[in-house]
Assembly symmetry: C2
Homo-oligomer: 336 residues x 2
DNA sequence: CTACTCCATGTAAGCGCTTACATGAACGCT
DNA sequence: AGCGTTCATGTAAGCGCTTACATGGAGTAG
């Protein structure tokens, strides 16, 4: 950084003041065409790029968006991130990314992303407690939540998918096309909004067919593979009566698949399985998974777009639910 | 950002000068214990966080690391990113991420990451031309390359995995354990270093067993699913004589699996298939893939660590090759 | 007791930009 | 011709930090 070319060098070379250079760079005031050409030429010749830090300091905004995730490498997050990245750069911002594992000691390190280095923050809750969100919000940082709503009344926008509708669709499919009636639901963590909305959809579908809701058919799968596998194994071993499985997430459904394999139960003939999310792996299973495609990437890009809007105009739609589509594959019993 | 708490507020509250506050924050000069306590108390009370921009401007470094990738959401990159992210924050830096698709028009936008906003850059080549790398390097930006070496003679460190050894191991396995002798190699893009090193390993293994190398058995798979699938279909249809397939990447191997499925050839009884990378999906295939586990995440963290070292000391190991391990599953014919 | 060192702290000059305000040339109007 | 506008451009004051240098009190030695 030291000794690099500054706006003053450009100004000198172009025979104008630094203010004028700044004006052509930022298009913040009209500049005579010929002057502009000279300035642009000087910039090109010197290979000048404005220092982000100086710019931020003077203009009072960082030109960065931040995203806070619990994890990067899971399929789900990387797709989300992809959408976010795209929209961020399309809007002319840079993207600062940080993860904060949920199990990590909280106070050991200050929040990596905040008003000091970011104009706005995308947060996937779970990593941040409500108190921390409120604190960031109080500091005046624009935020948009992903997949979970913010604490009440703060007016923080969120974007998610049509969980309830999607779940209803796929459960409905199990019932009306495949004649299932005792459908095991592998739920997510209790506070998880996705999970409870999906459960609602599941119940809606049952209700529409006059099937009574049996709480015994809702088992905790944590939306993850191992836990779900265990849960299904357990259900099988207790001889719980069910004829199909709705995994609240594809990961959960995959756990169920393992469990079924382990007990030698064929899919879909012995047991139908459906999921939710349409992760990339789901297509690769030996019996490709019927699931609900949630437009994860779009959630990311939409959230970034909203955040930018929030930053620039001060307002943004509070709740956005992106539509989902059912993906029929063979694990439900449909032939492919 | 406007109207936020500044170092001056803290100084006033603690009854010291701003310099002293700066000193306790950065531990850049000894401060009497009692003074330090007062300052820390003031910081805590006001909830002060230094403005990154002001700090950068004054100190002449950004405290950011940047990473440039062609893509985020592929398994491969997200694992890489995860390692990078961890090491970056462990070293006290923030992570700026940008993607630059290879097919994208080049000059439409200035480089998003450079000396103006980053202290150092991790680059996965392919997105950046050699000329651009040289240019960044000339500007004095510390860089570390991932998986591909930089242009000759610039002294830019790189980190990758033991491609040659890994390939040799897995091909050797095919030969000596499963008695294969005509092994199809699904290669990657021609300029791809991983690919050519893996091909070397493949040849090493053949040689060790006195099997002549047949160039006809090397087909272009582009390291991606569709292309490889097509290539294998094609080889099958031309009745090329081969008894097993070594996919230069798991993606390529998976393409081969599709092709085999399509032609009704069972794996591994009809054809053995092995890959390289150990992507997450590979374990989920109907015949779980025997492959070579490349410690992708570690490549990321190691690269970030090296970059930090390069920034701070001016030097770093030029070539790092991380060891790989063969993962035996059933697609090669091993029983599980 | 004086002179010198040492060390914690303060003073103030930037870091490279943006932007409110000042300036003056060109123009139109009466 | 004189005056007010308009508009492109220049001037210079910060933005919130870091850091070289100055300062002065305490400690040490002669």
């Amino acid at each position: 950084m030291p000794g690099s070319i500054t706006i003053a060098d450009v100004a000198r070379k172009a025979g104008v003041s630094t203010a004028t250079v700044s004006r052509v760079i930022n298009q913040t005031a009209p500049v005579i065409d010929e002057t502009e050409q000279r300035v642009r030429a000087a910039i090109a010749e010197l290979g000048y790029t404005p220092q982000a830090a100086a710019r931020s300091l003077a203009s009072r905004h960082t030109n960065n968006l931040g995203i806070l995730l619990p994890e990067i490498s899971a399929d789900f997050f990387s797709m989300l991130l992809r959408g976010v990245e795209q929209a961020t750069y399309d809007a002319g911002y840079d993207l600062l990314i940080a993860t904060q594992r949920e199990d990590q000691p909280k106070r050991d390190r200050p929040q990596p992303l905040g008003k000091h280095n970011t104009d706005g923050l995308l947060v996937f809750i779970g990593n941040l407690g409500h108190d921390q969100i409120e604190q960031l919000h109080r500091s005046g940082l624009p935020m948009v939540m992903l997949y979970e709503s913010a604490p009440e009344g703060l007016g923080i926008p969120m974007v998610t998918v049509e969980n309830r509708q999607g779940a209803q669709d796929v459960v409905e499919h199990l019932i009306s096309v495949h004649g299932k009636r005792r459908i095991l639901y592998l739920s997510g963590p209790e506070e998880n909004e996705d999970s409870s909305q999906r459960e609602q959809g599941y119940r809606d579908a049952l209700k529409a067919h006059g099937i009574p809701f049996d709480p015994g058919l809702v088992v905790f799968g944590d939306f993850n593979e191992e836990t779900s596998q265990q849960a299904v194994l357990d259900a099988l071993d207790r001889r719980l009566d069910f004829d199909s499985i709705f995994g609240g997430s594809d990961e959960a459904a995959i756990g169920a698949v393992w469990a079924l394999n382990q007990r030698g139960i064929p899919i879909p003939s012995g047991m139908a399985v459906v999921g939710f999310d349409d992760l990339r792996v789901s297509r690769y299973l030996s019996s490709p998974l019927t699931t609900v495609r949630a437009p994860i990437e779009q959630v990311g890009s939409e959230a970034a777009r909203l955040l930018v809007q929030l930053i620039q105009t001060g307002e943004a739609e509070l709740v956005t639910r992106l539509p989902v589509t059912m993906i029929l594959r063979s694990s439900c019993g449909c032939t492919m």
